[in-house]
């Protein structure tokens, strides 16, 4: 897998705001151009889009549903829907926003569909995965590795405990570096609603994770 390109809609950082903005615009245009070519029947462009967005989509979904198999299944559904709707795609729609809108919608539906039943299953499955990873890593400092794993589990539990829209907003903001405007479009709500979701979520995380600091 090739390294990922920067996603469009990235937050401008204090250090290199202008450059990042330029890159974001360029990436945005690139995605739209690729999708237009997919609409015209160019399969290579679809492969390029998949290459660029596969990991961000899978990772977002993984953190949303906290189950690797389910996250890949949902990500497949996202790209299948992108491919299916190539004929009606309009380049006016920002590709990443559209992609994350589909992904968020599928994840929220999955969560709302059977959260209670799936919660225990997903966490225990991932705990086993974490333990396996520890062994596989063969880190010299086992104690340090275990502490790190415990920390990650706490973070995952704290995020999983957030109301699902807060969770989606935080994951897009923190891990996908999407700005308020992109998150609002992906979630289908206003920017002020996104800000409110984010601030409540970070406040909760601050208090839940304070003991780890």
């Amino acid at each position: 897998m090739s390294p990922l390109q920067p996603s469009p809609g990235v937050q401008p950082s204090a250090e290199s705001g202008v450059n990042q903005d330029m890159e974001a615009v360029a990436a945005l245009e690139r995605d739209a151009q690729l999708m237009v070519r997919v609409r015209e029947g160019d399969e290579v462009s679809f492969a390029l889009l998949l290459e660029r967005h596969r990991s961000p989509v899978v990772n977002f979904l993984h953190r949303m549903v906290q189950n690797r198999a389910v996250s890949e299944e949902l990500a497949q559904e996202v790209f299948l829907r992108v491919y299916r709707s190539r004929e009606t795609y309009e380049p006016t729609a920002k590709f990443t926003t559209w992609l994350f809108r589909i992904a968020t919608h599928l994840a929220l539906n999955w969560i709302r569909d059977g959260q209670k039943e799936k919660r225990n299953e997903s966490l225990s499955e991932e705990l086993i995965e974490g333990a396996e990873r520890q062994v596989a890593d063969r880190q010299p400092n086992v104690e340090q590795s275990m502490l790190q794993e415990v920390k990650v589990q706490e973070i995952r539990r704290a995020i999983e405990a957030l109301p699902e829209k807060q969770r989606a907003a935080v994951l897009m903001h923190k891990y996908q570096s999407l700005d308020y405007s992109h998150i609002s479009k992906a979630l289908g709500c206003t920017e002020s609603a996104v800000k409110s979701l984010l601030f409540r979520a970070y406040e909760t995380l601050r208090s839940r994770l304070a003991h780890l600091a």
């Binding site: 899978v58 206003t190 995380l205």
Partner: protein, 183 residues
């Protein structure tokens, strides 16, 4: 500058500052302010710690066969009967609620056809006055466009309500939130 907690946009400033997304001038102001204000420094430190802590959750590796599985699904769909592809597109649109758009278009088309039929009835039938809304529809697309905007506003309003509603108020009936038409 004002203390973060006293600023109307304090939480936004705090979040952006710790995410490295605040504009340079604001960032410089906060950096200077927290040198002298213990309360704001505590807020910034707490948010910064959370922000850094979340980095510990590393991204997962994507299965090596992800693409091949996806292409197999695409191929399966392409070689399947045309009605199935049509049905998938109709019942599982990429964008949520996209099914409203064809529904609105069909409703508008239906209204236009109905109006055309009504106005061409023989004269012995009582003349039918077009209602204001139908007259708008026949006048062209602006009203149809407005209808779509209205629907988007309704969707937006519903989503906003959803934001406000706690997660445990989400309908728990199996499949209730996964209406086929919305996927």
């Amino acid at each position: 500058m004002d203390c973060i907690k006293n600023d109307k946009q304090g939480v936004e400033i705090l979040t952006d500052y710790c995410a490295g997304a605040a504009n340079p001038e604001v960032a410089a102001e906060i950096s200077a302010h927290i040198l002298t204000c213990a309360e704001c420094k505590a807020l910034v430190d707490a948010q910064r710690k959370v922000w850094e802590m979340l980095d510990a959750w590393a991204p997962a590796e994507v299965s090596p066969d992800f693409d091949s599985r996806l292409y197999a699904r695409i191929a399966q769909e392409q070689t399947g009967p045309a009605w199935r592809r049509w049905w998938s597109r109709l019942t599982q649109p990429a964008t949520p609620y996209a099914w409203w758009k064809p529904a609105v278009s069909m409703a508008v088309a239906g209204a236009i056809v109905s109006f055309a039929l009504i106005t061409r009835l023989p004269e012995r039938t009582a003349p039918v006055q077009p209602t204001a809304s139908i007259a708008h529809l026949t006048a062209g697309t602006p009203q149809a466009g407005a209808d779509q905007v209205d629907l988007q506003q309704v969707e937006q309003a519903l989503d906003d309500l959803d934001v406000v509603a706690p997660a445990n108020q989400v309908p728990s009936a199996p499949g209730s939130s996964q209406a086929p038409s919305r996927l």
